[in-house]
Amino acid sequence: MSQIDPETARKVAHLARIAVRDEDLPRLAGELSGILTFMEQLNSVDVEGVEPMVSVTPMRLKRRQDGVTDGNMPDRILANAPDAREGFFTVPKVVE
């Protein structure tokens, strides 16, 4: 049985960049533990010598020229931004 404690849940939430209130951490930890326990059925499969799947259909990916095919549309790119000014995406201050 996999046990995720509230402190681990806090770390995972932070890695995922999702704010979780302290009082919600125990419930989250319980849910994650339940899901991980379900996943642990996989431990009873013999996977010795089995390659992890990379591509489900055995085909060679197509090659193409590594060149610019599109662009020059900053207005269209910025049109959906919650905050854009003077041709840039705007975010809170990153460096103090």
Binding site: I4, A9, V12, A13, H14, L15, A16, R17, I18, A19, V20, L28, E31, L32, G34, I35, L36, F38, M39, E40, Q41, L42, N43, V45, V47, V50, E51, P52, M53, V54, S55, V56, T57, M59, L61, K62, R64, M73, R76, I77, A79, N80, A81, P82, D83, F89, V91, P92, K93, V94
Partner: protein, 493 residues
């Protein structure tokens, strides 16, 4: 006289070509039906202007005698598909207000074939769910009703399934990562096909789990699915996993002749606690195919039991990576920030407010299984098990099985809210018969085959060899004829 919106795609196509009615007549009939169906909550962004404009253009093409099969056919588009200038928010708050400046390849193909977009369809948020209850728009209600309860149409393509079942449109696009086309089709008495991975382009479809996602048609008949798939499929240089293969004439494959086909019944799908009605329906399905000249054999897919846990590692892992792009910077929702909040607080608050509970859970599970120290134990192990699951199918096909018959779902539609207090894993069990097909990249089709004792539809699933949608549809067509499923939900909305 049948109302125009009650027509199948094939009958509507024939009627349009004969000039019995116009695409605009057909479109208006659907728009009226949509206006009267608010209680179902299926169409969340209707686009009547786009629809009438496209219908007029379709009528011109039909008059000129150069109309492809889907020309003038009114359809709904799942909210997961980006549609140019039309809200496309994957039923998530985090994409509120997003209007893509581009059109997904699949919806563009349908548009170019003359299909008429009626609007965007409700779904589970980011296609994560099996009951449509995770949508930011609120749940879709199944048009099927047997008592006072409101039933789920299934998910994630629940809006598509409900709209097709309620005759609001003639067909709809769906997407299927673990059963999201086939389970809602089964819950609503409609037909839904998940093509072979790579048959339809994923470009412009909001990504959930890229190695599993496939778009497919949802319609009222197998023939309609064949027609609509023909317009959706095909190679797209913008999706590197899209297969450069010729698209066959799927409708021409419906010959009615399935003599000599060998159909496997996987013994591992006979689950403990499976309702007797589902088991009986499965046997009847095998009898119908046998009566049509197919040979029925028992087969073994020994790793079936591990498909769900492998899926619930791989899909959240890919989702956690795909959904990293929703950061409040480039599109959609951004949280209100407090004095002194920096960029990390912006990310964390935006994603906490923008994603619903199930999406947050899956992103965190995915983050965990990909994190240092757990990557091998969970993610790599799941990918190895995926190899074994695909090998099970490969061996069955190599042994001469042409297709596999299974139930589509372990139950009929359940009531909205009935699973609210259940463990998340309980909801995942809905996908037990559909998930292995995604893990193996195979085509699968769900079609209605009967009613349960309460009067709710039950579906069967046929699974085919890779790229063999055409013979799969031929089998489904014969099964559909034999089942003779003609029940429609009585209108209460």
């Amino acid at each position: 006289m049948t109302a125009l919106n009650d027509l199948t795609i094939s009958d509507a196509r024939d009627g349009l070509r004969r000039g019995d009615f116009t695409a605009l007549d057909l479109t208006n009939a659907c728009l009226t039906a949509i206006e009267g169906a608010g209680a179902l909550n299926a169409f969340v962004h209707p686009t009547p202007e786009v629809a009438r404009d496209r219908a007029a253009k379709a009528d011109a093409r039909i008059r000129a005698g150069e109309a492809p099969a889907m020309c003038g056919i009114p359809i709904g588009i799942k909210d997961l598909f980006c549609t140019e200038g039309v809200p496309s928010q994957a039923a998530s708050r985090i994409l509120q207000g997003f209007r893509p400046p581009y059109e997904s390849t699949v919806s563009a193909r349908l548009r170019d074939a003359g299909a008429v977009m009626l609007g965007k369809l409700n779904m589970d948020e980011f296609a994560m769910g099996s009951s449509n209850e995770t949508s930011t728009y609120g749940p879709v209600v199944n048009p099927w009703k047997i008592d006072d309860r409101q039933l789920t149409p299934g998910g994630s393509s629940g809006g598509s399934a409900a709209a097709v079942a309620a005759n609001l449109c003639l067909g709809a696009t769906g997407t299927d990562t673990g059963g999201s086309i086939r389970q809602p089709a089964a819950f609503t008495g409609t037909v839904g096909l998940k093509p072979t991975y790579g048959r339809c382009s994923r470009w412009g479809i909001v990504a959930f789990a890229s190695s599993l996602d496939q778009a497919g048609p949802m319609t009222r008949t197998v023939r309609d699915t064949a027609i609509m798939l023909g317009a959706m499929a095909g190679h797209d240089p913008r999706d590197s996993t899209s297969a450069d293969l010729e698209v066959p004439d799927f409708e021409a494959a419906l010959t009615g002749d399935i003599r000599g086909k060998r159909i496997g019944l996987p013994k591992e799908y006979r689950m403990d606690g499976m309702p007797a009605e589902i088991e009986a329906l499965w046997s009847r399905g095998a009898d119908w195919l046998r009566a049509a000249g197919a040979e029925i054999v028992e087969i073994s897919l020994p790793h079936t039991h591990y498909a769900l846990p492998a899926y619930y590692v791989i899909a959240p892992a890919e989702a956690s990576s795909n959904l990293a792009r929703y950061d409040g910077v480039r599109y959609g929702y951004r949280a209100q920030l407090a004095q002194g909040d920096g960029i990390t607080e912006m990310y964390e608050k935006t994603r906490a407010e923008g994603f619903g509970a199930e999406v947050q859970r899956r992103v965190m599970v995915g983050t965990y299984v990909l994190s240092a120290g757990f990557y091998d134990a969970y993610y790599n192990r799941a990918r190895k098990v995926r190899t074994l699951i695909k090998r099970d199918f490969d061996l069955a096909f190599e042994a001469g099985v042409d297709a596999i018959l299974t139930p589509a779902t372990p139950s009929a539609a359940f009531g909205l809210g009935e699973m609210a207090d259940a463990d998340p894993v309980q909801m995942y069990l809905n996908d037990v018969f559909t998930v292995p097909v995604n893990l193996a990249g195979l085509p699968g089709i769900a079609l209605p085959a009967g009613l349960d004792a309460q009067g709710l539809p039950l579906g069967l699933q046929l699974i085919g060899r890779p790229w063999e949608e055409a013979p799969l549809l031929a089998l489904a067509d014969v099964l559909e004829q034999a089942a003779g499923f003609v029940s429609r939900p009585a209108k209460w909305w």
